[in-house]
């Protein structure tokens, strides 16, 4: 017998994997559009630190002179992005899944500990149930960013019909910059996310496909079991769930 933990509901897995190609199309077509007027850069004094984007970057990705094509992709797939996002947020609310996602007052302290652990400056990572504090903050933020992208997107798309929205976001030019910055945020998120998924290993990754993880009784990196309490000493060598298994393997832990 294997002990498994049901980690990701089916709906969440669908939303996640639908979002992946859709967001990719939005970012890529956004780049085709951005190319036609690409003024953004990060400058310190007169020194340009980063230019969005150098010609070589465009050429390597075959971006130039595809504005019309980019707009077509963007204005078609935006509907899928919005629909998938609404369903995702709606589902997390109705199912109660939001309890795993919305950061609480402990999340920020926990996120610092997780970060220290990630950089090898701390031996243990704090216990968590589904997502650690850093994950909660990241996943909640990315959801807010999605809403931000839709709002700033519509502010650029219909600046006259929705002029209240464009004005609220600081005007047409500001909304375009905000839309761009959010996109840079997604790209940064993507790289960190993939790096973390690789680090977390196969069990974690496959759970985004299968929904469940097989629990190893002696895995210090996944303190999933038991209710984490602040005063509980975190002992990496001692599995938190061990007593349940050793006393009577057939007893299911109660779900709180």
């Amino acid at each position: 017998m294997k002990r498994i933990v049901h980690k990701h509901p089916l709906a969440i897995r669908w939303f996640h994997w639908i979002n992946f190609p859709v967001l990719f199309v939005m970012i890529w077509s956004g780049l085709l559009i951005y190319w036609a007027y690409d003024p953004y850069k990060i400058q310190i004094g007169d020194y340009t630190l980063i230019s969005f984007f150098p010609d070589g970057f465009y050429k390597a990705l075959n971006v130039p002179r595809r504005l019309a094509e980019g707009m077509a992709w963007h204005w078609v797939f935006m509907w899928l992005f919005i629909l998938n996002g609404i369903l995702y947020v709606g589902y997390t609310f109705i199912s109660g899944e939001w309890r795993h996602l919305v950061p609480d007052r402990n999340s920020f302290r926990e996120a610092i500990q997780v970060t220290l652990y990630d950089f090898g400056l701390r031996k243990t990572q704090p216990p968590f149930i589904k997502y650690n504090g850093a994950q909660k903050i990241a996943y909640f933020l990315i959801m807010l960013m999605g809403i931000g992208s839709v709002l700033t997107g519509f502010a650029i798309y219909k600046p006259t019909q929705l002029s209240w929205l464009t004005t609220l976001l600081g005007g047409y030019e500001a909304a375009r910059l905000e839309h761009f910055v959010l996109t840079v945020g997604y790209v940064l998120f993507f790289f960190i996310h993939v790096w973390q998924v690789i680090r977390a290993g196969w069990q974690n990754f496959q759970s985004m496909v299968t929904g469940f993880e097989v629990l190893k009784p002696n895995d210090p990196d996944r303190p999933l079991m038991g209710k984490p309490t602040d005063n509980q000493p975190v002992e990496p060598s001692e599995p938190i769930d061990a007593p349940v298994q050793t006393v009577n393997p057939s007893i299911r832990p109660t779900l709180s």
């Binding site: 294997k2 498994i4 049901h6 795993h100 149930i129 006259t160 019909q161 002029s163 496909v209």
Partner: protein
């Protein structure tokens, strides 16, 4: 503040064989589902073209237009700015339709169904009430610029000369059945041409412009008369209007033929 307690994740004990079977099943579905975006991409890129872009895109852009037209309103006005904020040097971004000199015998020609074409001068347009607008001109490329234009409302013009209707009466926004669906415009050399839906043409901020920053238009800006239509991207703001006509079918449109959205309503 009390915190909602995060529930534990549900756990199960299942035979190893079942674990394996579930994994295989999930990954099988995953691989199958991964074929969907590949199929969609192949389907789109192998579709026949429709005016510069693939047909599925054109269809959705047309559906987007229908959505946008449900909330288009004459009461939704483009934001205006104090005249001091207007740029002194308005950007010139294209010469299509302007590659020959302005015809010396230039007249604005307006085609009418049962009549001779109407031939008008700039003075005829200037006889109408003058309106000025300082607004953010928006190019489809992404840049925008606060510009100051002056001219007559296109809606006033259509009313004065009883144009744009099947009946030959002045357009009445309450009697949309009498209105043609589209206004078409082109330059004298027919090198540039646009089609505009009638609602946008009748929008109170749509102007037949003859002034920029209080001065008569120069040739690169569209002298002697051009369209300023703030509810559209710059591509619809035809310079040096030679001919205006009305139609129920979409008039040909220079940039729509090159793959851009036809409506481009802002």
């Amino acid at each position: 503040m009390s915190q909602p307690t995060e529930p534990q994740l549900p756990k199960d004990e299942i035979p190893e064989s079942l674990v394996r079977r579930r994994m295989i099943k999930s990954f099988g579905w995953f691989a199958l589902a991964a074929a969907v975006p590949v199929g969609v991409y192949e389907w789109i890129t192998h579709s026949v073209g429709a005016q510069g872009i693939k047909r599925p895109f054109r269809k959705v852009l047309e559906a987007n237009e229908q959505v946008a037209r449900t909330y288009f309103s004459d009461n939704h006005l483009v934001r205006t700015f104090p005249v001091e904020q207007a740029t002194k040097k308005a950007r010139i971004n294209g010469y299509d339709g302007l590659k020959s000199p302005i015809p010396e015998d230039w007249k604005l020609q307006i085609d009418r169904k049962d009549n001779q074409p109407l031939m008008l001068t700039v003075d005829d347009v200037k006889a109408l009430p003058k309106h000025e607008i300082v607004y953010e001109f928006k190019c489809i490329e992404g840049w925008s610029q606060v510009q100051h234009w002056g001219g007559a409302r296109l809606s006033d013009f259509l009313e004065k000369y009883k144009l744009g209707t099947r009946s030959g009466n002045a357009p009445n926004p309450d009697n949309t059945n009498d209105l043609f669906n589209y206004v078409g415009m082109e330059t004298p050399d027919k090198g540039y041409y646009v089609g505009i839906d009638m609602e946008s043409a009748l929008h109170p901020q749509t102007l037949l412009a003859y002034e920029l920053n209080g001065q008569p238009l120069n040739a690169p800006h569209g002298a002697p008369l051009r369209l300023i239509i703030p509810v559209k991207y710059g591509v619809k703001n035809l310079k040096r209007i030679g001919r205006i006509f009305f139609a129920d079918e979409k008039p040909r449109d220079f940039w729509a033929e090159r793959g851009y959205d036809y409506y481009v309503g802002l």
